[in-house]
Amino acid sequence: MTRLYIKVVMMLVLFSVAGLALAHGERNQEPFLRMKTLHWYDIKWSIENDSTVQVNEEVTMSGKVHFFSRWPEQINMPDTVFLANATPGPVFVRVGTWLNDVPMIQSTGVEVGRVYDFKVVLKARIPGRHHVHPMFNVESAGGLVGPGIWMNIAGDANDFLYGVETRTGIVIEDLETYGVENVVKWHAFWAILAVLWLAWWVRRPLLINRFLWVKDNNWSALITRTDMMVGGILLVFIITVLIVANQITEKTYPRTVPLQGGKVEVQYVPNPEEGLVEVKNHTSEYYLPGRTITIDATITNNTGKVIQIGEFMSSNLRFVNKKLPIAMAGVDEGYPAELVPNKGLILSDDSPIQPGESRRLRMEATDVAWETERLSSLLNDPDSSYGALIFFFDEEGNRYTSEIYGQILPTFFDK
């Protein structure tokens, strides 16, 4: 009977895991890259999870992204970053990206410990069911991916059209095909010329004859006067074509600009609430059999208001204090369920923290997601530590964010 029970549980676990095939490979990123770098929150998508858009329709992702103060030493500081989207390749076209309302065609630099507002507008291109995330590429760290939802694209990829108008007045109807005919034409022209030149030589006995002629020093047979003449004409022809083609091109496109490679500056918006609540980690444990992270911490309330702990967030997993309605209200309907663990955040002491009070308490975050998201592999990191954001709420509904970080100690079995 027990064995049957275990079997059923194992099957259920397997199914639940199999149903979670959502990632883009970020799960295998080292936990430090996900826990101590970027924290995404207040993420909104313009469409619901798993809903359908037509080819050519636009969707928007927006929200906040926090760059962790205790930035991992193994990677560069985020001085060069690029706001992007993690999609299975260009199934969506990136129409626009903004960081604190600054257009982000170019890369930028950000400061750690700061929060930025981002917005990404995409246009549906290739039909299918795609998982779509916001993402930051951070130099030396690669793509750091935010929470994602499923989007279905319906329609015909051939109907996709994306155009721009140039500053010189050319209307480009379709960027996918713009200039391609010209490229193919020129490639074909040179390839035909090359084939003709090769045919000129291959039509004659090629190897053994010529090898013997070379040995015989019979160069007049190897390269005849006709060869020299044809070669000379070809040489002049190639150079003439290059010159004429460039003159025509200069006339057709008199105004061009080189690739734009500058870096954009983005000012951060001060967040006076941040850090008003001090959080100090004492000991944190990962209890392997129960998939629970337990944090023993001291919280000092400097806000002047009565506050309560609302959410513990790391690596896109949101452990929400279910006893606090205002925290629950922050979880939108349709938010990817696998990122909001069922049990939520369990506190050893739920009572509000008074202004000026310093309280030591235990927070428990339990979920199979530690395993499925492969965060438990932080026990394999040479630096077994974690980082997270904690959200506090006062009675008026104001939110205060604080970082927490520390060592994590493993417990492999029940004592």
């Binding site: 397997l14 095939a21 883009h24 799960r27 390749g89 130099e139 053994i208 090898f211 040995k215």
Partner: protein, 259 residues
């Protein structure tokens, strides 16, 4: 891999010149079939099951392919190379020149198959690797493009290359008499591409999260790719031997075969 041996020694009858292209065509068809099937499989399974290595379906659709390759390829290697060695010609000194010519031409025609398989590793699947890794977030050393590039294309041309090498030193007196250094390079250089994968994966694990193709990490592949220039040296050797030794012994001045 045998040549039609209808040119019996001591026979007065001279067989007309005929080259047997069948093994070459079969080889080309086999390589085409393997490579296109793999390409089709990628199209079918990469986007759906190949994005996330922690997904159980990745194990089903990709790692199984990988393990199958790891089992089948060494077996094929030893079957081919072992067969060629065990069935070697033990009286190579008695090989008639005409038969040697037939074998030489057969061997060169099989170089076509070797070059064709090298094309898939050096060009087709190699550049495709860029298109995949610059499109997705790499999360394993065994990605849908690596599984075919490193663990299929490379072993395939290594198997063919070593088979050709062993054919040469067991059946062709010219190559058996002394080992040709360009031939060694043409076979061993591309072989070294496979060990270079080790360095590549080490670098990608510890240094490099971002994907661009021209990183110094990849230059090992370039270095060993250069060894194919030795094909020019091999050609010069073969030309020298054929024109000064082999062909004059089987042809008369009128251009007729004499044996």
């Amino acid at each position: 891999m045998s040549v039609v041996q209808n040119d019996v020694v001591k026979s007065e009858k001279i067989e007309p010149w005929k080259i047997n292209f069948k093994p070459m065509i079969l080889g080309l068809l086999a390589i085409t079939a393997i490579m296109l099937t793999a390409r089709w499989y990628q199209q079918w399974a990469a986007w759906d099951y190949g994005l996330d290595a922690s997904d159980p379906l990745f194990d089903v659709y990709w790692m199984k392919v990988f393990w199958a390759q790891l089992i089948i390829e060494p077996i094929l290697f030893f079957v081919f190379v072992g067969y060629l060695w065990l069935t070697r010609d033990t009286h190579l000194n008695q090989l008639s020149k005409r038969e040697e010519l037939n074998k030489m031409m057969f061997w060169i025609s099989m170089l076509v198959v070797y070059a064709f398989s090298f094309y898939f590793a050096g060009s087709f699947y190699a550049e495709q690797d860029a298109s995949w890794h610059q499109t997705v977030v790499r999360d394993t050393s065994f990605t849908p493009s690596h599984i075919f590039l490193f663990y299929m294309c490379m072993p395939v041309f290594i198997i063919i290359g070593f088979s050709l090498f062993f054919y040469a030193i067991t059946r062709l007196p010219f190559f058996a008499e002394k080992i040709s250094v360009p031939l060694l390079l043409v076979v061993c250089g591309p072989f070294m591409l496979l060990p270079t994968v080790g360095y590549n994966e080490w670098g990608h694990a510890f240094w490099l999260m971002e994907e661009y193709f021209t990183v110094p990490l990849h230059w090992g592949f370039v270095f060993f790719g250069w060894s194919i220039i030795a094909l020019g040296g091999l050609l010069v050797q073969i030309l020298g031997y054929m024109s000064s030794d082999l062909l004059p012994k089987v042809l008369n001045e009128k251009g007729e075969l004499t044996s």
